[in-house]
């Protein structure tokens, strides 16, 4: 009875995996092929959500929560804000692909073929099945993060500060800049 329960659990997680990976790949393709750029931002959110479900399947609950918080909560919203501020052809079907589409398709297909060959011939080792993974609690995770990885944590905080200051410096509207752009426009005219 117990064995049967375990077996049905494995089958369920496999079915979940297949469905989620199909959604993931479909929405990833839509991210790069949607005609409307705002739609592709929303498809990006779907892709990130599917990645978070993958993390749960891999027994990394904390990272799934972080993925939803940071990526869907911050990154997608930031991208939508940038789309709003740049006001480029929202809702219009523009010519989105560049001249090197065929070349890019060949490169990415070759890359995937090479990856498949590598997966095929390499013995990865490790556990046999996802059901054998043991969950590492958030408490243990935090203990390791703030003891063994304390220095990288501090460095990451400095990096975030630098990114904050840098993006403010880059995005702030400079009056002198505006004058230069006006002058350039006048020169052109």
């Amino acid at each position: 009875m117990k064995k049967w329960k375990k077996r049905s659990k494995a089958i369920l997680s496999f079915i979940l995996f297949v469905i989620i990976s199909l959604i993931l790949i479909f929405s990833a393709i839509m991210v790069i092929s949607a005609k409307n750029i705002v739609h592709s931002a929303f498809y990006l959110a779907v892709t990130l959500l599917c990645t978070a479900i993958f993390f749960i399947l891999l027994r990394a609950q904390y990272l799934a929560a972080v993925q939803i918080l940071v990526y869907i909560g911050a990154v997608v919203v930031l991208i939508l804000f940038a789309l709003m501020l740049t006001r480029t052809a929202v809702g219009q079907s523009t010519n989105i692909s560049s001249k090197q589409t065929v070349f890019a398709a060949i490169v990415s297909f070759l890359l995937f073929a090479a990856l498949s060959v590598v997966f095929n011939i390499t013995n990865m080792g490790g556990l046999d099945s996802v059901s054998q993974i043991n969950i590492i609690s958030i408490k243990d995770f935090a203990n390791i993060l703030f003891s063994k990885y304390a220095l990288p944590f501090e460095v990451a905080s400095v990096l975030l500060l630098a990114a904050l200051v840098g993006s403010v410096v880059l995005a702030v509207r400079d009056k002198r800049d505006d004058k230069e752009i006006k002058q350039e426009d006048n020169n052109k005219a």
């Binding site: 494995a10 496999f14 027994r59 990526y71 990154v75 740049t86």
Partner: protein
């Protein structure tokens, strides 16, 4: 090592399943970076690539070192760097847009001479 042993895809979820999906995601991202013209769309493709890498890191962490969290720690720092990258990247896109009035990558050739 017999070729094709890894492809015995049974009902059990194995490491190779996750690797194949993340490989597909990575290649879609590469295709997007190389072929799209909108700057923001290129940034989104980079996000796809980073997510493929994250799946890889966590899959290897869970399957090969189940008692430690090395890969998961690395994934946390990848997420931090990705957030910083998006912030700075979008600021650069805004500033380029202000100067060139366009986010089409074919029109941006300031660094070209």
């Amino acid at each position: 090592m017999v070729i094709g042993m890894q492809w015995q895809l049974g009902i059990d979820l194995k490491l190779v399943h996750f690797l194949v999906v993340s490989g597909v995601l990575f290649c879609i991202g590469i295709f997007g970076v190389l072929s799209r013209r909108h700057l923001v769309q290129i940034l989104m493709s980079i996000e796809l690539i980073l997510n493929a890498v994250l799946i890889n890191l966590i899959a290897f962490s869970s399957f090969t070192t189940p008692d430690e969290v090395i890969g998961q720690m690395f994934a946390v720092f990848v997420i931090v760097v990705a957030a910083a990258e998006v912030g700075v990247g979008l600021a650069i896109i805004l500033s380029v847009y202000r100067r060139k009035k366009s986010v089409d990558i074919d029109n941006i050739n300031i660094l070209k001479w």
